[in-house]
Amino acid sequence: MFPTPIEKASPSARRLYKIALPIALVLWLLPLIAVALTSIRSAGDITAGNYWGWPTSFNLLENYTAVFTNSPIGQYILNSFKVTIPTVIGAVALSCMTGFALGVYRFKANMLVFFMFVAGNFVPFQILMVPVRDLTLSMGIYNTTMGLALFHIAFQTGFCTLFMRNFIRALPHELIEAARVEGVSEIQIFWHVVMPLMKPAIAALSVLIFTFIWNDYFWATVLTQGADTQPVTAGLYSLNGQWVASWHLVSAGSIVAALPPVLMFFAMQKHFIAGLTLGAVK
């Protein structure tokens, strides 16, 4: 192991490490801790400029209730789910199929199709912005959660295909060969042989895409407007404009907006990291 395990170091170094660890963590998360603290302060504290001192009163319930009753944040969150969940399902379903096709079969255009997905996945959003907005408008789904979700499904298919294809490449090919010899059809091989083995990849990809899409801000501003359709990232931006100097509300809103992906991350941590670091070790 590198660096040298701390158990082998001197007792004083060990103690130092154990003290340094929480201090480093607090410093690292200081901006977030500040937000969390501010979200339970009273309006009085904010106007008095008491941002860093001890709160004069704890307004946890008041502030969070105020966020939900004085702003459409509930609707924003609902919109976020309406965009995120279909995207996760759609992109994962499409890429299971594309990944299977590119991972299992040898055919001439295989590499070309694969590279198309990989290259497309890295493209700057701005080169897509004008035509995608036009396309969405002409399909009559501009300013709908479905219009936004459809684009996300298509775009995420690039990354998901890369992921799935590499995962399937690493599966034992003998299984598929054996099934073929038995006369199992290709569709059945996909469904009954390969799909069950893809569960960890599906889990990893789902958490990852959930977080990416939940946190998307750019496309939300391009393809939706107004509280009826905008997801919470774009919503937070407009709330920030309305709540000038009401930092206790902005903070509470930020925390509410950040919560779903954070919970998702903690619940599915192993899958999340497995997905993120695919290819980082080989």
Partner: protein
């Protein structure tokens, strides 16, 4: 029909599986790239008739001060964003221990990456606030005057980059933590017997084994730097006086915002950004192609 399918199953099946994915991807990603290229030769407000103007959008770019500011800021982003890589490695080395509770520490350090850039932007805008932001409280405590980081042309881009480095460092950290897990312990033992320690060990033994992690870290950091949009939009809206714009943001501003709907001009900016990105994409594909061949 059935017989045909039976006979040609192996040839047809991959295309059947690819069809929905390819269609969606073509429609929303590949074709729009070419449409944007095309639009960049027109003057268009997004609603009325398109008017063909040839290269004039690009000619105009050549003389556009704001374009150069954005390009320069993009370069600053690219260079400084790279700091996330050594910073991530440093944090990963610090956390690569097996003391009690270290797993929770690792996930909490990773935290900034999970939350939205909108939230990161709000948090940092507040951190920099000249009146009550923590930064200025610290600066004042040291006896200096307050700095309005986000309202000062000299500092604004750097201020936003620091905000961006926070989640990006967390990302690189997790890549390196996973990489460190896979480092061959026998090689380390062998190197220890040869008296390799500290920096020399890191440089000659560990880093070469972390190459895959470093490669991915570079890829995601470059892409992240060139995609910077959210933080700028949230923290400064390109200001003060457009001094914190990058190409991605300037394009958006030109194509649709209160400054008018100049789709053609915006598309031309996007094409420039795309060309820069293409250099990296080509490099990435080339490496991938070599790896695939080697297999």
């Amino acid at each position: 029909m059935r017989a045909y399918w039976k006979a040609n199953q192996l040839k047809l099946a991959p295309w059947l599986f690819l069809l929905p994915g390819i269609l969606m991807f073509l429609m929303y990603v590949i074709i729009p790239i070419f449409q944007s290229l095309n639009v960049s030769f027109y003057a268009w407000d997004g609603l009325g008739e398109k008017e063909f103007v040839g290269m004039s959008n690009y000619v105009e770019l050549m003389d556009d001060e704001a374009f150069y500011t954005s390009l320069k800021n993009n370069l600053i982003w690219l260079v400084l964003y790279m700091l996330a890589i050594p910073a991530g490695l440093f944090v990963a080395l610090f956390l690569n221990q097996t003391v009690r509770g270290i797993r929770i520490y690792k996930s909490l350090f990773f935290f900034p990456f999970v939350i939205s850039q909108v939230v990161v932007g709000l948090v940092f805008a507040w951190f920099y606030d000249p009146n009550y932001g923590l930064l200025n409280i610290l600066i004042n405590a040291l006896g200096f005057d307050s700095i309005a980081v986000l309202a000062d042309e000299r500092f604004v881009t750097y201020g936003i980059i620091v905000a961006g480095l926070w989640p990006q460092t967390a990302y690189c950290m997790i890549l390196y933590l996973t990489g460190l897990n896979a480092v061959d312990p026998e090689q380390i033992e062998a190197a220890r017997l040869d008296n390799a320690k500290g920096w020399r060990m890191l440089w000659y033994v560990i880093l070469p084994q972390l190459k895959p992690a470093t490669f991915i870290a570079i890829v995601v950091t470059v892409i992240g730097a060139l995609r910077s949009f959210d933080l700028i939009s949230i923290m400064t809206d390109g200001g003060p006086w457009g001094s914190s714009r990058v190409l991605a943001f300037y394009m958006y501003e030109q194509a649709f915002s209160e400054y008018g709907f100049r789709m053609g001009y915006g598309a031309a900016i996007a094409v420039v950004l795309f060309a820069i990105m293409m250099v990296y994409i080509t490099g990435f594909l080339y490496k991938m192609y070599r790896d695939e061949r080697g297999r």
